[in-house]
Symmetry: C2
């Protein structure tokens, strides 16, 4: 192994699930011509439709890179409040050829009942999804975890150095489930919401305790990202990117710790400041190496 490979192997060893940028079906070589007119071949991320069913009910067609379809389906349904913690999942069946995944529950969920009622008047579930999501958050009380700035700096450093589809092919978002200064599960997808939903599906499948977890994302902190994090019960959400006013407002209402614009030694805590312990002098944080600097997907 070269020095770089050894370094990568030691970074990846910490993860339970790390990105697999070499997996053949996630990227495709695409030919083009550059600014000089020269032929170039680029490695480009795939984007495939995946239709998610809840029992016999078609719910949505998501555009995804295509890894972990079962986690994506489970997590999507869970984060949208369509699947409740008390629903017993009896199977998650992925059909690669049909590009479908069916989540089966022991009994018909209340969501299907609700949907059937609603469609009579509104005709489409899209308009009601958001309302349902906020509904699921009434009475949510996020755990009183501690988060140290030294962990945040360590996480950013490790995640930026983890071999990923982003570094391989760009045009993709990443979300990482972390515990203290350790990144555990790193999911990527063409849409930042899919990456988060895959984390939610993994949490649901493994029954992992979330009270001491931190969610790190390359994407912007919009209302949907904040709501999804709170739906998972994770008390801390961190991003390299910016935020919207409503994302901040919802985080404040829910008492979620929201940290944005985390680059090098800088960050801004916008909500849930009480969980944050500044235990490291920002001057001791190494400046970001431009080669490893993530620009994020756009």
């Amino acid at each position: 192994m070269t020095e770089r490979q050894t370094h990568h192997a030691s970074v990846v060893a910490e993860y339970l699930i790390a990105p697999d940028p070499q997996q053949a079906r996630l990227t495709r070589p695409v030919k083009g011509r550059d600014h000089t007119g020269a032929l170039v071949e680029l490695s480009v991320v795939e984007e495939r439709p995946l239709t998610i069913y809840l029992n016999r009910q078609e719910i949505v067609t998501a555009m995804t890179i295509g890894d972990y379809p079962e986690y994506l389906a489970l997590g999507f349904l869970r984060n949208q409040g369509m699947l409740h913690p008390q629903d017993v999942v009896t199977g998650v069946d992925y059909d690669e050829e049909l590009e479908t995944v069916v989540v089966r529950t022991e009994v018909e969920t209340t969501y299907e009942e609700k949907l059937q009622k609603k469609t009579r008047t509104s005709g489409c579930a899209v308009g009601t999804v958001f309302g349902d999501m906020m509904e699921g958050l009434e009475g949510v009380k996020l755990p009183e975890a501690e988060v140290r700035s030294s962990w945040l700096y360590a996480l950013a450093h490790k995640i930026n150095r983890t071999p990923s589809l982003y570094l391989e092919a760009g045009a993709i978002h990443g979300t990482v489930l972390c515990q203290r200064d350790r990144p555990l599960v790193y999911m990527e997808d063409v849409g930042r919401h899919n990456a988060v939903d895959k984390i939610a599906g993994w949490l649901q499948s493994t029954g992992t305790d979330v009270s001491d977890k931190i969610l790190y994302t390359t994407g912007r902190l919009t209302s949907e990202m904040v709501i999804k994090t709170a739906m998972m019960g994770i008390p801390v959400l961190v991003s390299r990117s910016g935020f919207t006013a409503w994302g901040v407002e919802i985080a404040q209402d829910l008492g979620l710790t929201l940290v944005g614009r985390m680059r090098g030694q800088r960050f801004v805590c916008l909500s849930g400041e009480h969980r944050l312990v500044r235990d490291m002098d920002p001057a001791d944080v190494p400046t970001e190496d431009s080669r490893n600097r993530r620009k994020g997907a756009r």
Copy 2:
């Protein structure tokens, strides 16, 4: 006026619609604490729900910064193939308090009929929207316009220097309708699809000819972006960002000229190379000034 203001005024003068970053309702001051623990106040973009109706049919709730709701609604319905060129729009009514916009047509559109039939079996329109979009593209023939590399360089230069919400507050996407080397209509929104839909709504409202237009976006070139551009009949789509394999494939199928990763003197043409004339030596393109370098929304 200072030198900088004069420069901005001359850049903005070219536009029919330029961003209005000073408009009070688009941003909000948000307080936080930075990495040193110091109190900071930041200007942050708004994000509001807007529910779009087609006649009496509720279609979708979009999250938007809130400017040009009428263009957003019209453009969304048009780009989703829910509103056809032959449908006569009799009114577009925005209600700021209810956060709704209703697009009224002379006769019930075929879409509403279709939706009512589909909801009986599938229960939700989301899963069918994509199919409908591709449907609207059968037989699409994009115009044989010419696009010169000198125009692309000039557009990138001007757009990067245009005062915008992005430069003011970040965390936002921009899409610009252009003609030759002139930017005409610059729309921004929290979601890149909304920015494109607002352009489509403007085109629909003004009846502007699209055959010689170029669409420039800060966002990634995904399948949806390519499909929306083709739905508008615009033959050229350009971005600073990357692309997905399927976005490229659809552009090639439709014969759309797709240019990605446009930064400084570099770009890659991935499809529709026949429209592109490389009339400028890339060595003559000034390198990007880091102060004006856009990092895009994530």
